[in-house]
């Protein structure tokens, strides 16, 4: 009877989920409540977790709860520590969920709410969650080795090197695009600039507090930091109202970009305890707190989604970025559906804490489900805005025109009515001078969040909510930026150490300064070009980031598929093989279009040639003619970079297929590197948590 009841409940969830998904999919022309999105998401997640994830864990991976994990075997009380599963879940989620799932869906909303929502839901449960869970499992069985190490051990040195280069490249592009998002949010906004700059000294105060004043009192110091951050949000209004002080914080994008670069360099060479670690505490609390608040507000308020299901921009003419629905929606939304970067956390970091293999489903699969849910909320926050307002905030000046009247006329002509007064009113409510052409996702998301928070918790504080949302995004974008620069520095030192051993010493000052400067100039270059590009830069950088991130995911899935085949589980290899094929398809198609398309808004070479012709014909306005040579060079560089990424991807795919074919035809391959089975002893005395 009990079993019957359980079955009935699952059938009910399935029916509810199916009707919510089809309700969203078939809705045409009417506003639809955000509650449908939440319902559809929760049902899809519940079913996938209960059945698909459980089946993968039990049948494909065969997790063994009697087997000691690396955390138990290598327990040293520091980095290898068997830990309660909820704590591991918290660490894992805090590590994987950055600004990516907030920015991607916001940009992809230009296709309408439907394509992005479906990809976030089904991409996650069939691709992203599977990737995270399998990588976590494989690394746990291999003494918590990193993805690069596993690739080298299982596929060979070729794959290992490709994984290393891929990781380094994605880091550079990622930091550049995130830097650009922050710069676009701070551009000519004294309030936002003040609040974001204030996070730096606040982090330092917290750092000194927990290092020297009260060593190890993490919570105490963080509470102080959170209070100071909230004060800085409120204090920004004072700065904004002050005649002289506001000038100090009112800057062009380019100056802000130089500041971000200087900050990145400083963060990479300063000791971690002063800036990086305390900033990370603050951003983690802000992130978890704000995401919870957003979920509560959406459920309380149930706002209507105003964006149409599908817009005319699926034909590739979208203002935010060029390119057709296929493949660009899948490239634009990487984090939230499938993100290769997670494989770096799921291997190496999280397995060192895992106390039992049976928690792999909850942490690997469940962690990604939660990130996917964050992406759904970002999609809701972007699509509750009037479509006209959404496009006015996100369309770069190069596409709709620099003057407000011009931009409004253009956007209204697409069928998304918006007026200058409406935009001015909105900007005034948010405490900003203008909201036009703030490409990048952060400002429109902040407007969306502010209106949701404002309706749920009081209209009077819209400007405060807006700047709170900007601060919240900026603080963990900057955390990714400085953590990423530092990791890039270590990787570069490691690589250079092979040539000149002295360079590999991570504490040798000349090496620290040189490698930090190299990494910062790497992403700084792309950031600089992104800022001076009149088309906003995001339209170039974000697809590049998406391609790089999906490439990394493909590497992780290659390793997983290769290991499944080598373990004699050919019949289950489709579990990772199918998402891999899909990723290879979309990445290759997108890369091909970015390189070969004749459309100047998509193809890098086409755009470069067009610009060269116009420059030669002398038809460019002087301001644009001055930067044209740099833009042309950059377009060529981007094209070659894309080609490089996609070649790297195919190299690894062939490497994996080569290993599989050799194994299946009985030829020798690299042996499996799984650590031998040792019985777990934690089961009986597992009472201390």
């Amino acid at each position: 009877m009990n079993k019957l009841l359980k079955n009935a409940i699952w059938i009910l969830i399935a029916v509810l989920g199916a009707s919510a998904v089809s309700g969203i999919a078939l809705n045409r022309g009417e506003n639809i409540s955000a509650l449908w999105f939440i319902t559809a998401a929760l049902c899809v997640y519940a079913i996938a977790y209960r059945f698909y994830a459980a089946w993968i864990a039990a049948t494909v991976l065969v997790v063994d709860d009697s087997r000691a994990t690396p955390a138990e075997r290598l327990d040293n009380g520091r980095d290898f520590v068997p830990t309660n599963k909820w704590i591991v879940f918290g660490h894992h989620f805090a590590a994987i969920a950055g600004p990516g799932p907030l920015v991607g869906p916001t940009l992809a909303a230009q296709f309408g709410f439907l394509p992005g929502t479906l990809w976030i839901l089904f991409g996650a449960v069939l691709g992203g969650c599977v990737q995270d869970m399998t990588t976590l499992f494989l690394s746990t069985r291999r003494d918590a080795k990193s993805l690069g190490q596993m690739t080298r051990d299982e596929l060979g040195p070729l794959g290992g090197t490709a994984a290393l280069i891929g990781t380094f490249a994605i880091m550079i592009i990622l930091i550049a695009v995130l830097g650009l998002v922050v710069v676009n949010a701070m551009k000519h906004s004294p309030w936002a600039t003040f609040t974001v700059s204030a996070t730096i000294p606040i982090a330092m105060i917290v750092g000194v507090y927990m290092r020297y004043f009260r060593p190890g009192q993490v919570l105490e110091a963080s509470a102080l930091g959170v209070i100071l951050l909230l004060l800085s949000v409120a204090g920004g209004r004072f700065i904004d109202d002050h005649e002289t002080l506001r000038i100090v914080f009112d800057h062009e994008g380019l100056i802000l970009a130089w500041c971000v670069m200087a900050y990145g360099f400083a963060a990479a060479i300063l000791p971690v305890w002063l800036l990086l670690a305390p900033r990370d505490y603050l951003s983690t609390y802000m992130k978890l707190g704000t995401i919870t608040l957003l979920a509560v507000a959406i459920i309380m308020l149930q706002p209507d989604v105003k964006m149409p299901a599908v817009t005319q921009f699926i034909d590739g003419t979208g203002p935010i970025f060029g390119g057709k629905l296929f493949p660009f929606v899948f490239i634009t939304i990487a984090c939230g559906a499938i993100s290769g970067f997670h494989a770096l956390i799921a291997s190496g970091t999280t397995p060192k804490l895992l106390s039992n293999e049976r928690d792999i489903r909850m942490i690997g699969y469940g962690g990604m489900i939660l990130e996917s849910f964050v992406a759904i909320m970002a999609m809701i926050a972007a699509t509750v805005l009037d479509p006209g307002v959404f496009f006015a905030i996100n369309s770069p000046a190069g596409v709709v025109g620099a003057e407000a009247i011009e931009a409004v006329a253009k956007i209204s002509s697409w069928g998304y009515p918006v007026t200058v007064e409406q935009m001015q009113n909105l900007a005034r409510q948010m405490g900003e001078a203008t909201l036009f052409a703030r490409t990048g996702g952060a400002p429109s998301l902040a407007v969306g969040m502010a209106s949701i928070f404002g309706s749920a918790f009081g209209e009077g504080m819209l400007a405060l909510w807006y700047h709170f949302a900007i601060m919240f995004e900026a603080i963990f974008i900057l955390t990714t930026l400085d953590a990423g620069t530092r990791v890039g520095r270590f990787m570069l030192q490691d690589m250079l150490g092979n040539i000149w051993p002295k360079m590999g010493e991570t504490s040798w000052t000349p090496s620290v300064i040189l490698t930090s400067a190299l990494v910062v100039s790497g992403w700084g270059y792309f950031l600089y070009i992104g800022v001076i590009d009149p088309n906003g830069g995001v339209n170039i950088l974000w697809p590049l980031f998406g391609i790089a991130n999906q490439m990394l995911a493909a590497i992780a899935l290659c390793v997983a598929t290769g290991i499944l085949v080598k373990s004699g589980k050919l019949k289950y290899a489709w579990v990772t093989g199918l998402p891999l094929m899909w990723l290879v398809t979309i990445t290759t198609t997108a890369a091909w279009q970015k390189i070969a398309s004749e459309d100047i808004r998509i193809g890098f070479f086409a755009a470069a040639n067009d610009l060269t012709d116009k420059l030669a014909a002398g038809v460019l306005p002087p301001a644009k003619a001055a930067i044209a040579p740099q833009l042309i060079f950059n377009l060529h560089l981007d094209a070659w970079l894309t080609l490089f990424f996609v070649s790297l991807l195919w190299l690894i795919v062939f490497d994996m297929l080569h290993v599989c074919v050799r194994y299946l035809s009985g030829k020798p391959v690299l042996p499996l590197t799984e650590s031998p089975h040792m019985p777990s002893r934690l089961v009986e005395d597992w009472v201390r948590d």
């Binding site: 040293n76 009380g77 600004p99 993490v218 919570l219 971690v272 190496g348």
Partner: protein, 65 residues
């Protein structure tokens, strides 16, 4: 109710690393009995432990996109 608040507080402390030193002392007591008896490797002080713990925590890829 107060039990739940206590559990939440414990989770929060563990998650943030607030109780990392206490955990380290427990680990020391369990695994380094011999060291303690011979007095050759006494446990680290809280400040020293925290320094090492923090530096180690940030060695590698810790944050994602």
């Amino acid at each position: 109710m107060s039990g739940k608040i206590k559990t939440f507080w414990r989770l929060l402390r563990r998650l943030s690393g607030d109780d990392a030193y206490e955990q380290y002392l427990k680990h020391y007591a369990r695994h380094h009995q011999a060291d303690a008896e011979l007095e050759c490797h006494p446990p680290l002080s809280k400040a020293d432990f925290f320094k090492q713990w923090q530096d180690e925590k940030w060695n590698g890829i810790k944050r994602c996109c």
